[in-house]
């Protein structure tokens, strides 16, 4: 186990190096000149030269790369170019809002989609099943944007059940007042594709031999589905949840932009619009690290869910 962990961590290093190289050369090769962005339009050549020297842009490329790597390893990204806020504190101040939206969303999504998918899989092949597949296909073809535009208009503007948008300093007010509408809309939208996906996982398992054996020995259908099929289908479901977990930390950026929630996703989008390179680079690299760690954690979780899995 320890050897496995060590090897997996060791394997992350080349990938992380690749991420760093990709981000570095992407911004170096295609991005605008940081000194000119920082200095603004009315800058004199001397000012630009001074900024260039300050940022180390006049040094040779390998040295610049080394400065970049040092920033990553020491968590010292300096300040945002646009707001002058330290980049490190950006994470601390924006993440709570994102998590207030994304954690309830994740929990609701999983707890609703699994039973729904199981129910649909139980009536597989019937008219209900066909109807649900058709409805989800059509529902999925409409943009997420349409659902939130109409949802906000209907539930907040017309019916007044929720505030149209807003955010406060109190986590509790946020959770019970401002978060419910975005969360419910996002759950409603993601439920269709999730149910379809989980349904296919359940159907894969229902075709297996052990299900036939269980039927042959006279187990009731609910017992088969709940005790045998669900446990086995949990493995691909876990993979799917694991794959979606890093997204929790960026948040559903569209929701954050639409409902003006001061989260990480909205911050990254603002940074893109303001050419605020340090923020984009920092978020990209740290989330890549997080993704790798979560992937490792998911693999370890397999072992716990399914003792047959051998970690190699």
């Amino acid at each position: 186990m320890a050897a496995y962990l060590l090897r997996r961590l060791w394997q992350m290093i080349p990938t992380l190096a690749g991420v760093i190289l990709l981000v570095f050369f992407l911004f170096k090769g295609f991005g605008g000149d940081p000194a000119e962005i920082l200095a603004g339009l009315a800058a004199t050549p001397e000012q630009i030269a001074a900024i260039r020297q300050q940022l180390g842009l006049d040094r040779p490329l390998p040295e610049q790369l080394w400065i970049f790597v040092r920033q990553i390893l020491t968590f010292d990204w300096g300040r945002s170019w646009a707001t002058n806020e330290p980049v490190a504190s950006l994470f601390a101040s924006r993440l709570p809002a994102t998590l207030t939206i994304m954690l309830p969303l994740l929990v609701l999504e999983v707890t609703l989609a699994i039973p729904l998918a199981l129910a649909v899989a139980a009536v597989r092949g019937s008219l209900t099943d066909r109807a649900i597949v058709i409805v989800t296909t059509v529902a999925m073809s409409i943009s997420f944007l349409v659902y939130i535009i109409v949802g906000q208009w209907l539930f907040a503007f017309k019916l007044g059940w929720f505030p149209v948008q807003g955010w406060s300093d109190s986590p509790w007010t946020n959770l019970v007042t401002y978060a419910p509408l975005p969360v419910l809309l996002a759950v409603a939208v993601s439920l269709a594709p999730q149910t379809r996906l989980y349904r296919s996982f359940f159907l894969d398992e229902i075709g297996q031999d052990y299900v036939r054996t269980a039927r042959a020995k006279g187990l009731s259908e609910p017992a088969i589905l709940l005790r045998h099929v669900t446990r086995n289908a949990l493995i691909p479901i876990l993979t799917n949840i694991g794959a979606g977990l890093p997204g929790v930390f960026v948040g559903s950026f569209l929701i954050e932009v639409f409902f003006s929630i001061p989260g990480l996703g909205r911050e990254v989008l603002l940074a893109v619009n303001r050419s605020d390179y340090p923020v984009i680079q920092a978020v990209t690299i740290y989330l890549a690290v997080l993704t790798m760690v979560i992937n490792l954690a998911t693999d370890l979780l397999y072992k716990w869910v399914d003792p047959r899995v051998v970690l190699k």
Binding site: P14, T15, L16, G18, V19, L22, V23, L26, F27, F30, G31, G32, T137, V138, M140, S141, I142, S143, F144, L145, V146, I149, V150, W153, F157, S200, L203, D204, P246, G247, V250, F253, L254, V257, F258, G265, V268, L269, A271, V272, N273, S275, Y277, I280, Q281, V283, T284, L287, A288, T291, M292, N295
Partner: protein
């Protein structure tokens, strides 16, 4: 496999149907697939006409009143123009001795008279309503279909080309090349997709062609995975070794022998990407990273619709949504039917 004995000499040797012919036969039997094919082809004809400028070429013309309602709703009741200031009574006050511009009024009036100004009459209603500037929503939806579908298809072509090329190289050569490409793949997949798109958008800027490149350069990983597996499988098959034996070079074996045999996988991957990219374009355009303001796409239409909804003007939202829903549903069903027809082993799994 018929032997010479049971084939009458007079009949030409029957050619066994090829993979595409067989797929077409299976596809034709799929009614849902055929209907969606017709719908998708109709959309392609429409965007071809729009691209040639035969229809919806004047989508920027302000032909109706602002927020003109759809024709079938009827014209809104005429509102009396609001009178904020009372109209002054009595003779106009003569200001000419204090007004510094007074000596030039006559000259300006003369010059104004020389310019013919023509205000075309604005329609009270439009087939699917009008937007904030009184532009025809129907024309916008058609022109928007052209931009959105074109972005989706071109980006999918870019992503599929990159994925197929890299997957072919990685799968066929393996070894050092394969390891290197796996590393590149790991790097791209370890960054959450939307952040990768943002990072590319931050450096590449805005514009229709930029969106195509951003989506293409970030979306190839799924195709790569699939193609690599196919090429690993096919590289050791007999027909490839036979091709090698008769002297076919590496590139010829990869792209003239193996690629046609896996082209159905490429086609299915391509059409899956088209749907995903059309949806992505809508969201990117809404966020201001996609189509610029002087062009129209389904995404920019939905972006405008957010404020219009609050004023009660729902028709632009409805038009963009309906166009997009019909096309995407038809295209998704077409993709399913294609997959069933091209790869019968997969039938019924999903």
């Amino acid at each position: 496999m018929s032997t010479a004995a049971d084939t009458p000499v007079s009949m030409p040797p029957a050619r066994s149907p090829g993979v595409w012919q067989l797929a077409w036969r299976r596809f034709r039997a799929d009614r849902v697939g055929m209907v969606s094919l017709v719908v998708v082809l109709a959309f392609f004809v429409m965007i071809a006409l729009a691209a040639l400028g035969w229809i919806a070429g004047d989508w920027q013309a302000e032909v109706g009143e602002p927020y003109a309602p759809p024709s079938w709703l009827g014209a809104p009741p005429a509102q009396a123009p609001a009178q904020a200031l009372p109209v002054p009574q009595g003779p106009p006050v003569d200001l000419s001795d204090v007004d510094p511009l007074a000596p030039r009024y006559a000259e300006w009036a003369e010059r104004t008279a020389q310019v013919a100004s023509h205000e075309p009459p604005r329609a009270r209603t439009l087939p699917l309503g009008g937007d904030r500037l009184g532009r025809d929503v129907l024309a916008k939806a058609i022109k928007g279909a052209q931009v959105s579908i074109l972005v989706g298809v071109l980006a999918a072509v870019v992503a599929t080309a990159i994925g197929t090329l890299l997957g072919a190289l990685g799968g066929y050569f393996g070894g050092k090349v394969g390891d290197f490409l796996e590393w590149v793949y790991n790097v791209f997949t370890s960054i959450p997709g939307i952040l990768l798109i943002f990072a590319f958008a931050a450096v590449l800027g805005r514009g229709v062609d930029t969106v195509v490149w951003i989506l293409g350069l970030t979306g190839w990983t799924g195709v790569y995975r699939q193609m690599r597996a196919e090429f690993i499988k096919h590289a050791v098959r007999e027909y490839v070794r036979a091709a090698q034996a008769i002297g076919a070079g590496r590139w010829s074996r990869m792209f003239r022998h193996i690629l046609p045999n896996v082209s159905h996988v490429v086609l299915v991957q391509l059409s899956l990407l088209v749907v995903g990219f059309i949806k992505a374009e809508v969201i990117l355009s809404y966020l201001g990273l996609g189509v610029p303001v002087d062009q129209v796409s389904w995404g920019t239409m939905l972006g405008e619709a957010q404020n219009e909804m609050l004023l009660g003007h729902w028709w632009q939202l409805a038009a963009a949504t309906a166009f997009m829903a019909v096309f995407v549903t038809a295209f998704s069903l077409l993709t399913d039917a294609l997959r069933d027809a091209l790869d019968p082993r997969l039938r019924g799994l999903e």
